[in-house]
Symmetry: C2
Subunit: 896 residues, 2 copies
């Protein structure tokens, strides 16, 4: 049976269709380039299906390699070289190429085809003995490592030995004689490790290399990478066998990499670097400093012109900025690879907009060019540029860590969570500095402007929590040593500083910079434009941002609301594009200075009469709260959740606090402590909270419902369009909702009577208990809307307490039991399945039931993709993540 193998060379290919699933990403792009007439070194492609076949049967058809060699004849003809030939030997690279890019995950072999014999032919041809033996040395090393599975270190040891012996430090300085010694030692190593001589026959080399690439699909790195990136095992990898070209054939040769646009700013200008007389490896090794790509224009103007032209062709064809590898062999330009280039958030915005303006892509396509997760950095606060400059001039710049949570922040250093709370309560802005953070630090983090840790990476506790809290955060700052009441810093320029707790420090979580002293922070350009502080004309980035978000708005299929508890949050959310509030938590409203004692008095009340009296007072506050929020959201729906947390959260935690409260409300501190104790729970997460409070204390629900409806009617009087949605939390059985709805409806009747006016309001429920999802059809009969509280739903469905899971979740993520933190990205298989089930059950009973999500997942890109796919009506995210959700839901609308 004839195999399906593909050939490509400048201007021709027999691959039809060209399809990443068949030829792999790299191979397909090579075929595309060949078809476009772009000079690529000729080569052949073994498609992915043979990889799967090999892995399944552990062998390949008998005549497989004969057919591969036969196909390789086309390359021989095209290059006028002969594989295993005495003269003009054909050397090839053997590379994997999966349908989806898996950078560094699989193995590559270069210079295949060299052996003692062909080396001599190549020396004759190139007149460059050192180049040939260096190539041969590299082949043996790569083949030994990738195909024969001999540890990389063992080859490096030999190389180091010879470098040391001949007194050189760089590979490139090894002379031919030494290289021959290295080759001899390499071969001896292979003999020792495998009991076989190094394979000299290029045909056998090729066969073994192909099989090794196939096998590499299932090496551990590749498996883990696939898992993390959701790449199906069933894809397989193609093998690209491509003729070698050499950038190190003299000063008329070169090798380089470039982007078609500046990947940092998005500017339309070739960006990259090259090295004369060098191989790709040398660019990476960093021993010689590569030159700016612009200089190529001077050195090799023709090649440069051709490269520029090609990049334009490629951008138009692939409709995106390209990341290109090229080699110039004796003045002749070859394109080795092209792919869509990675870029910063800022560049992504500009490139997307520019490509639209250039007519290359449509606005709808432009949306796909911006990673939603890049937006927070663009929106985050920055230091005042003047202030920052001055600080650096004064030597206040200390060091850099990992930029784990975007934004700039200054504050007094606090080294413990307790100190953070203490200073915060005294009115200071603080910055939490820790070796690393743990769940015990959550409270301290909440009260801090930003977080700085000496240890930890981008997914450490501090990093993950800070991002969720939208706090600036720098982690892994190993130049900092955290002591008992000060920190020691080794500065970037070698100074050793001691900074005390309480002193001012500044961090920029977007850049990772740590600066001594207090700096002024200002809104990012985008935010300044959005807030009306800066004219749109003054900011290109803001203009680009606004265009992208507008397009995203047009194409997204589901609504985006915000989780906002205060008028300020509501205002920002609206400016950032939220069309309503999906979750307004009322409990935060009870923590104000005047209110907390009232709330506490209410909880400590012994009689219903007393409780109602206090509730009347609290109601007045609530009415004002709601009026403000309704005003900000004029014209949009506002979902207000009734009281949710367990009551003990409002009570004093210790005797001092109890004594303070005692003076205010006239209940003895002992009594207060006793009541607080009696309210304590073993598992507060599963305790007396949510609608369970509203059911045991109906007067609380009544007060809140009344406040909402009075506020709504007051706003209506002022001509504000109000759409209140009252949300009952923690419902597990429809009867709970019926009972609470009854209270709300009764309150409405009373208030409407008093006002001689009415207002439309909805009553719905959170779906956050597994039982609610399971019985969603029954609950839907009495609900106007569902809002999935995926935070709690995740806790209960997985049996993970968010406060405690840290202790094992790290290990779970490490060994891959969960691929992502289920509190950050929705667990599709478990929690997602429940959401889907509840959605279907709910809509089966009430097709126009409005269903949204108000957990933190509403602001996570991957989760928004899922929610869009299953058909939720809206997601609700924290204000600063609203743009992410808009963009993500718009992207999701275009996904299959």
């Amino acid at each position: 049976m004839e195999l399906e193998l593909y050939f490509f060379a400048k201007g021709k290919t027999d691959a039809d269709p060209i399809d990443k699933m068949i030829q792999g990403g790299k191979g397909a792009n090579l075929c595309e380039m060949a078809k476009l007439g772009i000079p690529v070194p000729p080569g052949i492609i073994i498609p992915t299906k043979y990889c799967l076949e090999y892995l399944k049967w552990k062998k390949l058809p008998d005549d497989f390699f004969d057919q591969v060699l036969k196909k390789l004849h086309l390359v021989e003809q095209e290059t006028n070289r002969v594989f295993d030939g005495n003269e003009r030997p054909l050397l090839v690279s053997v590379r994997s190429g999966a349908p989806v890019s898996m950078p560094g995950m699989m193995d590559t072999i270069l210079n295949l085809g060299l052996n003692e014999k062909t080396a001599i032919g190549l020396i004759k041809e190139t007149n460059n003995e050192r180049f040939v033996y260096d190539s041969y040395r590299r082949l043996i090393q790569m083949f030994g490592n990738v195909v024969l599975e001999i540890k990389h270190d063992k080859f490096e040891e030999i190389l180091d030995y010879h470098k040391h012996k001949s007194g050189v430090t760089a590979d490139v300085d090894l002379d031919t004689k030494t290289l021959l010694n290295v080759i001899a030692d390499y071969k001896a190593l292979i003999k020792k490790e495998t009991n076989e001589d190094f394979i000299e026959d290029p045909k056998v080399q090729l066969k073994m290399a192909i099989e090794a690439v196939f096998r590499s699909w299932n090496n551990e790195r590749a498996i883990i990478y696939r898992k993390i990136h959701n790449i199906p095992e069933s894809y397989g990898t193609a093998v690209n066998i491509q003729s070698m070209v050499f950038g190190n054939m003299g000063m008329d040769s070169a090798t380089g990499v470039c982007f078609t646009r500046n990947p940092s700013t998005g500017e339309k200008q070739l960006y990259g670097e090259f090295l004369l007389n060098a191989q790709g490896e040398d660019v990476v090794a960093g021993i010689r400093t590569p030159e700016n790509i612009q200089n190529l224009q001077t050195v090799m103007p023709e090649a440069y012109e051709e490269l520029v032209k090609i990049t334009q062709t490629l951008e138009k064809h692939f409709k995106d900025m390209q990341d290109i590898e090229f080699t110039i062999e004796r003045k002749k330009l070859y394109l080795l690879q092209t792919r869509n280039g990675k870029r910063t958030g800022r560049a992504a915005l500009k490139i997307a907009c520019d490509l639209v303006d250039e007519g290359v892509i449509t606005p709808q396509q432009a949306i796909l060019k911006v990673d939603p997760e890049s937006l927070p950095s663009l929106m985050a606060n920055v230091f005042d540029p003047e202030d920052l400059k001055k600080a650096k001039e004064n030597g206040y710049f200390l060091t850099k860590g990992l930029n784990a949570g975007p934004g700039a922040a200054s504050g007094k250093i606090v080294l413990t969570s307790e100190k953070a709370v203490e200073l915060h309560q005294k009115g200071h802005k603080v910055l939490l500095v820790r070796l690393e953070t743990s769940p015990d630090d959550i409270k301290g983090m909440q009260y801090s402007e930003g977080i700085l840790t000496a240890r930890g990476g981008m997914t450490s506790h501090a990093a993950v929590v800070a991002r969720a809290m939208n706090k600036p955060c720098v982690v892994g700052c190993s130049d900092i040593k955290v002591m008992e009441n000060h920190i020691e810093v080794i500065t970037f320029d070698g100074r050793r500083l001691c900074v005390k707790e309480g002193q001012e420090l500044s961090i920029d979580g977007t850049t990772g910079e740590v600066i001594l002293g207090k700096l002024k922070t200002v809104h990012s350009e985008i935010l300044r434009v959005i807030m009306g502080e800066l004219d749109e004309k003054e900011s290109e980035i803001a203009r680009d941002y606004l265009r992208i978000i507008q397009w995203a708005e047009n194409f997204k299929k589901i609504g985006v609301r915000a989780n906002a508890d205060t008028p300020t949050d509501a205002k920002i959310a609206r400016l950032l594009g939220a069309k309503g509030i999906g979750l307004c938590r009322t409990e935060h409203m009870f923590f104000g200075e005047e209110r907390l004692p009232l709330m506490q008095k209410m909880i400590l009340s012994e009689t219903l009469v007393e409780r109602k009296e206090v509730l009347e007072k609290l109601k007045e506050f609530q009415i004002q709260d709601f009026i403000q929020i309704f005003k900000e959201m004029d014209g949009y729906p506002v979902t207000i959740r009734l009281l949710d947390p367990p009551l003990h959260e409002f009570l004093p935690k210790n005797f001092e606090e109890a004594e303070l409260l005692s003076k205010k409300i006239g209940v003895s501190p002992e009594e207060i402590i006793q009541r607080a104790e009696s309210l304590k729970e073993v598992n507060p997460m599963l305790g007396h909270r949510g609608c369970r409070l509203g059911i045991t204390y109906p007067e609380i629900s009544e007060m809140q419902a009344s406040a909402i409806l009075i506020a709504a009617l007051e706003c209506k009087k002022q001509g504000i369009q109000v759409y209140p949605e009252i949300m009952v939390p923690l419902v597990g059985d429809r009867k709970e909702l019926i009972q609470q709805k009854e209270i709300i409806d009764q309150s409405a009747k009373k208030i409407f009577g008093e006002y001689q006016d009415t207002i439309d309001y909805k009553v719905g429920t959170m779906i956050e208990i597994p039982r609610a999802a399971i019985t969603a059809d029954k609950i839907a009969e009495v609900a106007d809307f569902f809002s999935f509280g995926t935070n709690d739903l995740t806790q209960m469905t997985l049996g993970f307490s968010r406060d405690d899971a840290e202790s094992f979740l790290k290990e779970y993520l490490r060994i891959g039991i969960y691929e992502k933190n289920p509190f950050a990205t929705i667990d599709v298989e478990g929690v997602g399945e429940l959401v889907k089930m509840a959605l279907q059950k709910g809509k089966s009973v009430k097709p126009d039931l409005k269903c949204g999500v108000c957990g933190e997942h509403g602001g996570d890109t991957q989760s928004v993709y899922f929610f869009t796919k299953i058909g939720l009506d809206y997601v609700s995210a924290s204000p600063y993540r609203v743009p992410i959700s808009i963009l993500a839901s718009s992207i999701a609308s275009q996904q299959k």
Copy 2:
């Protein structure tokens, strides 16, 4: 359209088929009796469907009452009386009769047909003016209350006034003149309350009465009753209109109730009481003392003979002991009602066996006659009869409370949970006495022999928890006052006693008796026979029990295992019929005196090496534990669960305990406290426990798996048949099970190598996290069995922490959000649905997957019905509840 109405009289009925769903329970039985030739007062039945029609349309077809009256002609003919007639007027009772008995839930009207005119006719006929006006007075009162909805109290006030005025205390002593005054005042009351005169027209009375009965289907009492007893609203009630007969027509008349057998002992002998010259109401009122039914033989030998004969007919026909109401009117016997009689557990066993022996029922039918929930009382310990007798003679019997948890117990009085723990640890047996218990008392209850509370009913916290713990319990003992360190008792004979904490007290939770001092407790007769302490021949009840359980064994469709952690428990469980262990918790094994310090040392270990060292020592203990249990369960499977609880449960709770431990293991108390603190969790229920321990500390799983397999191989050497099943707890994702199974399989490989022998073992998982149920198909691929841990599954599915739910669950049960405590009886709609889903998913992947349940629901009758219905393979219950499960699963096998 002609209505479907039914007529019945001795020897005839047109009801065909006779069906409770159509004629209601009472009506159907009346028709059955009529058909059997038993003398019943003739009557007609309006079937249930017209009730539903009336409630739906709020009215009845136009000619409805014409047709009812037409049908009533048959009764007139049969009785030779005329409804609304001047002579021989026909009086009828109007009664509701639903398909399922709802005692006292709906209303009855007697003597309907009486008015000023017919009263005179009846007086003429009976020559008994007082009787007629008393009947008339009763009619007005019942009609006024039931139909006109005038409060009962208002009639009673009038009656009391006249009784007082004429100086009599009993209704029966009112003379005709006074009765006429009462009637006049009753009528005035009706006029006042309704603005209408009392309806004199019997036809209108009848119409209104029928409608009132229909409406009563939806009165509040009825709705609640239906909710509690799962009776569908769609049943509706029938109306029975039956001619009145009178037991108060002189000394040749009587009324009575009787059981066909003794409902207390089951003895085959007519049991009941009667009153001469009286109406049914008088028996209930308790003003005259009724006579033993046996005496009827002397007074009215013919009627008695007939009654005995009828009871035999009825038992044969209904195949069960009957509870009968009868009236003798001028020597003529009438049967008013028959139904299956309620009985004690003891009687149920005897009656069931006797009916089989008499050839009335089959063994399979006999099973249905015994309520599984009646078994615990029969099995519970009792006081030594001699001891009890002596104590009572000495005046030590104090008082009685509610018998909330069967069994007898003696111990030193403790008034707090702490004291219970303290004395228990000093080796004393204690009895916890509280005003009422709360979740804080759980530990104290665990350490006590029994529980006594001054407050609370049969479903109070103390009662529910005690039954679950299988502890004797007396509640609601209001004669006891609990003081700070003593109790005050008002004894049954009026003495006032003060008993100090630490003094001995005894309670019998089967009878509710409270006795001063310590009494010897002995096994119940049944248990003594089962344990081989008493010959079967000596105990009728044990013989009956064993026959029933044997029959149940034969007919049940699913297996019954026990939850047992010790050899003793395993032994008892086996004697009680368990065929294997469904849950052996290993954590209890680490609390022994020698072991706890080792366990604690393991937890405090800082290195893996240190931890493994301690685990080696613990392994030796575990091996011995498992050998003992395997021996007891020779021939049956034993499911052993790997370590489940969070580690902090094993560590000292305070400094004193830490200091003690410090001396034993050489770690400083500060360090111990610190480690204990660091292990504390906000929501331990959702924390670092279950297989999460085994994954983060694989060496623990390895130790336990090794111990199980070594024990199994040691037993095999001794010729014992061992079937170990290793159960991984708290799995939420299949990868967790894969990882733990790998550890177990590796251990097995190693041990089998060392022993040069192998043993079959299974590896399965608990399904106790909602996510496990949702992804059960995926988990099933790697599991040999599922065991549903419905305790935790209930907590997570409902979001109820068992430790905390008390605070709102009471209210939830009161207002009917949940009908039963979901921790006692499975929540079918939520948790049950998940179990069903997981079962289907699991078996769809692996049809022979063994699926059982090991939560406490496995010993609850209603839950076992559900588990049997959905097709689980077995249930596992605590040892003393094994017989309940056997009987319940056998009954369930016969349910549709």
